[in-house]
């Protein structure tokens, strides 16, 4: 799935990233507000859905080599967080949908937790 499709499926607003980055493919996703849980399962996850808003979210995504962050429940990152995301080349989206619904929509459209990045 392309990041562009993630954005469309979730009716999300683009807060950081450009057209070229929206064309990038993502293969799996993970949804959590606990960063330690995100860090516990290291796979080729490329999308992180979270309702947590602090700079550790950006750093956690960076540590995990993720390329797209989705803030759920209408949460908005601070300008400092967006700047940090920009520095790391992360696409940042924000959706009004709640975590369960956002994850469900992406999963049922083929973005599971087990996708493997093609090399």
């Amino acid at each position: 799935m392309k990041i562009k499709e993630v954005k469309e499926l979730l009716g999300a607003e683009l807060l950081c990233g450009d057209e070229a980055e929206l064309e990038k493919d993502v293969y799996s996703a993970c949804g959590s507000d606990m960063m330690s849980d995100v860090l516990a399962y290291v796979k080729d996850q490329s999308v992180l859905l979270t309702g947590l808003v602090n700079p550790q979210v950006i750093r956690t995504a960076e540590m995990m080599d993720m390329i797209c962050l989705v803030f759920v429940r209408s949460k908005k990152p601070t300008p400092e967080m967006v700047a940090l995301a920009h520095e790391h080349g992360l696409v940042v989206l924000a959706t009004e949908k709640r975590m369960y619904e956002a994850c469900g929509i992406l999963y049922s459209n083929g973005l599971t937790s087990k996708g493997v990045k093609k090399r």
Partner: protein
């Protein structure tokens, strides 16, 4: 790379929002060295969790990293309260972090177990009231 490369980072314990900066810088350094991305990720996560621990529990500390042909060695040292029961601290889900840390996305009791999971060797030396030193090794081959 014939000689070992060393990196030193001071981990500021005053401000949680900056926690993790050392690990991010370290990750960039290693990318430049051309280390396998999977190994970089494991080492960076282990160091990141350790750095967060030092900020939450010990008002910060220092991180020293050595990279040679065979391994990445990370030494995290703090002068915090120490860990009274290391076996208990190693259990997944066991945490003594305050509630405000949980609201920041950490304190789930996964830090030390994650560090062990992502490294090939890990030792914890801790004295209550004196501080804690964690050494980790990630083999490159």
């Amino acid at each position: 790379m014939s000689e070992a490369l060393t990196f030193h980072f001071d981990v500021n314990g005053e401000d949680f929002t900056s926690a993790g900066q050392a690990s991010v810088r370290f990750k960039k350094n290693k990318r430049e060295l051309g280390v396998d991305p999977e190994i970089i990720r494991r080492a960076s996560i282990a160091m990141y969790e350790g750095e967060i621990n030092m900020v939450i529990h010990a008002h910060g500390g220092v991180a020293d990293v050595e990279v040679d042909e065979d391994a990445i060695k990370i030494v995290l040292k703090d002068q915090g309260p120490g860990i009274p029961d290391i076996a208990k601290a190693m259990q997944e889900g066991y945490s003594t972090a305050p509630d405000n840390i949980r609201s920041l996305g950490f304190g789930a009791g996964m830090g030390l177990p994650n560090m062990k999971r992502y490294t090939d060797e890990m030792q914890i030396y801790s004295t209550v009231g004196v501080g804690t030193t964690v050494t980790m090794k990630i083999n490159l081959n």
